[in-house]
């Protein structure tokens, strides 16, 4: 086997375990989502939909289980609740907003 090395500008170094291979990448691979560790203090939408009600204000301390807002999606009113007792730092959405999945809706902060 004495095949010659291919000269191709699209070839990149690509690590599979301990070895790096020369290869091309696919569009799908390049567009893949990079994983980030979820932040418990960030409330994101789990489904695309419309904000139809917001029950809390910035600066307010809200107890675990209390309602935060209602996200209507697929004709269903989803009640988003407080995951643990904390202070509302910022609210990034308004009533009537149509938001995609994984939109950062509310940021929490620890209660001193």
């Amino acid at each position: 086997m004495k095949g010659k090395t291919i000269e191709n500008p699209e070839l990149v170094e690509f690590a599979v375990t301990a070895r790096k291979y020369k290869t091309q990448l696919t569009r799908k691979f390049k567009n893949r989502k990079v994983w980030v560790e979820p932040n418990a203090y960030e409330i994101q939408s789990f489904i695309p939909g419309t904000i139809i009600h917001i029950s809390v204000k910035e600066g307010e301390i809200v107890k675990e289980g209390d309602p935060l807002l209602i996200l209507e999606a697929m004709k269903m009113q989803n009640r988003i609740e407080m995951p643990f007792t904390a202070k509302i730092k910022t609210i990034n959405v308004n009533v009537g907003d149509r938001i995609p999945k994984e939109t950062l809706m509310i940021v929490l902060e620890e209660v001193e």
Partner: protein, 514 residues
């Protein structure tokens, strides 16, 4: 009335229905760059071979002003014919007739020709060009779709089913093609989606064109829904003819054997693969060097290109090739590649097409996205498909065969009939660098010069294990062969496997990790 008069009356009736939605609608169809349903059938089938049935079927809907609406053939043409002499059943939705919308009678014409195909054991081809359910017919249209899906499922693995998307195919309609064996799409003409751009914009506010959401290229490259992608309808129809000539009429037959012809590929098979295992090459060059006339009909060329699948001939007999492609993602197995290969292997097995596996792969693709996308579940499909297959199965290890990938790529352990390896093959539990790092970890860490020790240990490992002889010593490889011997051995392997008889335990059906 004399017979002559009756004949003239029949001709007149036929001529009216054959006008479809009329001149204006036909012109509109042409303006979109599309052939009419009838033109498509006549272009695809052998000259004078098409015979139409149910030309005079009429819908029975009485609501919403439908009672006085006449719809030619109820918007679909059905019949039988031949492609390069092979008998087939076919239907084509006629977009000029009420947008090719599917009502109950339209669906019943389709299910009737599908039933015929299943009974007569001939391939069934469906040409889709329809705005979707005929809303006026309400759940009658839904019933129609369901009856088609049911027959797609019953026919699966019995007769080859081909779907051609030459227009919109949206909502429930997409599931018939999804259930069939091969889906053909054409740039700018095919559109497939469950919910269209309008709904997505209303619900989510996301603006996207039909083409970007579910156009031909998207399904050929991103979703994997489409198996064949063409730039024009004529190219698409040629692809169908080629495919039909390579597959059998049903699971009771083998694909038609043709005269054996030598490869015409100019490159020497010994000069295709770079000596450095980290350098890529196009594995299709190996297929061209092996197959009759160097012909290869690639399936799903653009999707998951890190594995190559498709049909060719060896000694005149149709075979399915499955090959790792080092040119993309180093030829790793990932979710999409496993799905792609598994379905193809199952098609080949169902339709008595021997499988030739060409292996050169470094392992599975590492990454959070892969693990979370279920590479375990998807990867398992491939193990299942190879293990389940009882057609002749031959593997040639061209270069790398590491770890789980070695097992997955039709290894002896999954029931390969013949295992060949080229002399440069590296068959090992993992790549030499990784293995040496683990096995000689202590020696490397304790050495004064860690890098020098690591390099020495990697070298030792390569010399001892990165070759085909360890596996050959255990009988996992039947023969270490020279590249130039490969075609001859493949022809021989198929020849001696002609009467292969391999039984599986009785079962209603297996439960593969779908």
């Amino acid at each position: 009335m004399s017979l002559k008069k009756n004949i003239l009356a029949l001709r007149q009736r036929k001529a009216i229905v054959e006008m479809g939605g009329g001149d204006k609608a036909m012109q509109k169809q042409a303006a979109m760059g599309k052939l009419t349903a009838r033109e498509r059938i006549l272009t695809l089938l052998d000259p004078n071979s098409f015979h139409e049935y149910d030309l005079f079927v009429e819908h029975e809907e009485r609501n919403f002003g439908m009672d006085d609406k006449v719809l030619a053939g109820d918007g679909v043409i059905t019949g039988t014919g031949t492609i390069k002499g092979a008998p087939i059943c076919i239907y084509a939705q006629d977009f000029t007739v009420m947008g090719g919308s599917l009502g109950l009678k339209h669906a019943r014409k389709i299910t009737k020709i599908m039933d015929h195909a299943l009974k007569m054991k001939v391939p069934c081809i469906g040409i889709n060009d329809s705005g979707g359910a005929r809303i006026q017919e309400g759940i009658g249209a839904l019933a129609g779709y369901g009856e088609i899906f049911y027959r797609n499922t019953l026919s699966s693995g019995v007769i080859p089913q081909i779907s051609v998307i030459l227009g919109p195919c949206a909502g429930g309609a997409v599931y018939s093609p999804a259930l069939t064996d091969f889906v053909f799409v054409v740039e700018n003409i095919s559109k497939m989606f469950i919910t269209g751009p309008n709904v997505i914009e209303t619900v989510l506010g996301e603006k996207i064109s039909q083409e970007d959401l579910g156009g031909a290229r998207v399904h050929a490259e991103i979703t994997g829904n489409a198996h064949f992608y063409a730039l024009s309808e004529l190219e698409c129809l040629e692809q169908i003819k080629e495919l039909v000539s390579l597959i059998p009429h049903s699971n009771l037959q083998k694909a038609a054997k043709v005269e054996a012809k030598k490869p015409t590929f100019k490159k020497n098979i010994e000069n295709i693969i770079p000596a450095d295992p980290k350098q890529p090459y196009d594995v299709r060059d190996i297929i061209y060097a092996l197959s009759d006339e160097s012909k290869f009909l690639e399936v799903q060329e653009l999707w998951a290109p890190n594995i190559v699948i498709g049909f060719g001939r060896l000694g005149g007999e149709s075979v399915g090739f499955v090959a790792n492609q080092p040119m993309y993602l180093a030829g790793v197995l990932d979710c999409d590649a496993s799905d792609k290969a598994a379905r193809f292997i199952r098609f080949c097995d169902a339709f008595n097409i021997p499988i030739v596996t060409l292996e050169d792969m470094p392992g599975y693709l590492p990454g959070v996205d892969q693990e979370h996308a279920g590479v375990i579940r998807h990867g398992a499909k491939m193990l299942y498909a190879y293990s389940e297959a009882t057609v002749p199965k031959v593997t040639v290890i061209l270069r790398k065969a590491y770890g789980g990938g070695y097992i997955a790529m039709n290894s002896r352990h999954l029931g390969a009939d013949f295992m060949f390896a080229w002399p440069g093959a590296e068959i090992a539990v993992m790549g030499p660098e990784g293995a040496a790092n683990i096995i000689f970890r202590k020696e490397i860490m304790e050495a004064e010069d860690e890098d020098a020790m690591r390099q020495q240990k990697v070298k030792e490992y390569i010399e001892k294990f990165a070759n085909p002889y360890v596996a050959a010593a255990k009988g996992y490889i039947d023969a270490v062969i020279e590249p130039l011997e490969t075609r001859g051995l493949l022809l021989h392997a198929l020849e001696v496997s002609k009467n292969k008889d391999d039984h599986r335990p009785y079962k209603k059906h297996g439960v593969p990790p779908f």
